[in-house]
Subunit: 142 residues, 2 copies
DNA sequence: GTAATTGCAAATACTTTGCCACGTA
DNA sequence: TACGTGGCAAAGTATTTGCAATTAC
């Protein structure tokens, strides 16, 4: 995990961001939880709550998203979710419409072919996609 | 188109909604535009702007979403998008991250197999999914 | 030293609700 | 008549920004 932290921070540095305590704690929090989190969740998480202001977390996430280090996800809630974007990794999510739990889908994503095709037929550049499954989880349907 | 309107209204009636002018104009607007639209867009569209209040459109959309007649989409903007859910129809969307344009993808959605598999392996019920492609459209990359 | 980063407070944006009047069935 | 629906205005929630002080490089 700490080696992951260093890798991510390294990428931040390479993009011109400064190594601040807030940045480290934010990245650490995302790594530790390994799931998409909202701004509010992040700002109130143990590592960050007394470390920095919510506006700081917001602006950090904004910069990290710009640099392609985190991704901002829709996920249907009113609040946006943020997840680290590790190189070579793509995640789809499975979300319970009842309790709101979010888990990554561990199956190869079947969309890459179509993505290439779209890139080719429409001329869109820099394509990426977001795929979410919604349903009622076993616990909630009981 | 009017026959589509009647069909949709019929489904609304079957779900216990009353046939009001606002409902008709809302459904008509969604049919005519055949793309996801935000609450604000809808409320300010020609058919609705002088017809009813934004709160009314909001509550209509809420009811229609409850009944499965429209779907609320994330689409990454701050505002939620709404689209009619026609029976047997599934749509994926292609969105320009620059200008925000949204167009439906006309290719068969490659996700249904995986969806079934997830339903089987995770025990989630009533699965559906949302798939969006993001990129820079030809006009914006010029 | 200089430019990026931060905190705090205020402004926006979008959504949601309360309450009472009204219209549809 | 009865209950779903509608208008208006106000409250709620999440995001975003201004500006002066601070910090990393």
């Amino acid at each position: 995990m700490p080696e992951n932290l260093d890798k991510v921070i390294e990428r931040c540095r390479a993009e011109g961001l400064r190594r601040t305590k807030a940045l480290e704690e934010l990245v650490m929090t995302l790594l530790e939880n390994s799931r998409p989190m909202t701004l509010a969740e992040l700002a109130e998480s143990p590592r960050l709550t007394n470390q920095c202001d919510k506006a700081t977390v917001f602006r950090l996430l904004q910069r990290l998203a710009d640099k392609g280090i985190v991704r901002r996800l829709g996920l249907h809630e009113r609040a946006a979710y943020f997840a680290l974007l590790l190189p070579g990794q793509h995640r789809d999510y499975l979300i319970c419409t009842d309790c709101g739990s979010i888990e990554p889908v561990n199956a190869p994503c079947p969309v890459h072919e179509l993505e290439k095709e779209i890139q080719f037929t429409t001329g869109y550049k820099n394509l990426y996609h977001e795929l979410e499954f919604f349903g009622t989880c076993p616990a909630c349907s009981a």
